[in-house]
Symmetry: C2
Subunit: 187 residues, 2 copies
């Protein structure tokens, strides 16, 4: 599974593309940071972000997109820009017909380090190790985007296994009911 992760930001937007299957080491495909000028007007900044994200989606052809869910406790001024950048990222995935999933920072930290309270350095170290890189990806926005992609691959796997297990249970129950029905002649 190839996943494009996005750490949304208006000034710096991290994008990381990772390939892998649940529970096994992932492989780095690429990472980028999209920059927009703070002096530039909002429409041009959002348009630049949209164009670049569409280009990266077309170039790397991911099967799904993972975007960091925006958090409300941040600085209010920053959070507005982040919310707008995240909308552009979610839309870029949806426009390309891809499934888009959002994750909170804690979910990503827990998936990658085992702890929802992991710090930046710990996250960077784990992303470097999990992708078997020689050096940590820079800048940090790119590392966060890669962590999102890893989180999506692994959690997607967990979800897929849970869904498969639930489906197996349902099938077993249905089979038992059918058997009971055949034996007793009632439903």
């Amino acid at each position: 599974m190839r996943v494009l992760g996005v750490d949304p930001g208006l000034t710096r937007c991290g994008v990381g593309v990772v390939e892998g299957v649940p529970g096994r080491p992932c492989t780095l495909v690429a990472y980028h940071v999209i920059y927009t000028e703070p002096d530039e007007e909002l429409p041009l900044r959002l348009l630049h972000l949209d164009t670049e994200l569409a280009r990266l989606v077309a170039e790397y052809r991911p099967e799904s997109v993972a975007v960091e869910r925006v958090f409300s406790q941040h600085n209010v001024r920053t959070v507005m820009g982040t919310a707008q950048a995240s909308a552009v990222a979610v839309l870029a995935g949806a426009r390309a017909g891809l499934p888009v999933q959002t994750y909170t920072p804690s979910e990503v930290k827990a998936a990658v380090t085992g702890s929802g309270q992991a710090d930046k350095a710990q996250m960077m170290a784990m992303v470097t190790r999990l992708l078997r890189l020689d050096a940590p990806p820079r800048p940090a926005d790119a590392a966060d985007a890669l962590a999102l992609a890893i989180c999506h691959i692994w959690r997607g796997g967990t979800r897929a296994r849970l869904a498969a297990a639930a489906s197996a249970v349902r099938q077993r129950v249905a089979a038992q009911r059918s058997a009971a029905k055949r034996q007793g002649g009632t439903g």
Copy 2:
């Protein structure tokens, strides 16, 4: 000048199209409210909003787009959705190659009623009067979008007049300097 105003919202997004020139009564072209289901997933909601806005821009061919600037003092949960909807609206205008301007609610109220503290009823009454409608536009989201479009037409006019006045002053100063230069032989 034809302006498409957007009162951004994720659940209800008001769109109003108005034609006019600064300082004169405007003419209503159309208004709509785009709804998205709160139960629906975010990517589908943003995609629906994007598709509908692109359709309205293509249908009404405005010369510019006016979007309400998102305010931070609102409920934080609501404001995230509003910020994301506003990003989609700003982007829809930018993608169509149109100039996009944002206005705070106070700017819109001041432009339409003369007071930045006007209430909903006063705004609705003024929009109805300014567009010479028989009845107030419903729902309120549509009225707010129409007010944004009116604000943009009138303020755009003010800006254009100020720019023209400033340009005239600069030209006069330049002409005086040239005249002085010709008389005295120095700059």
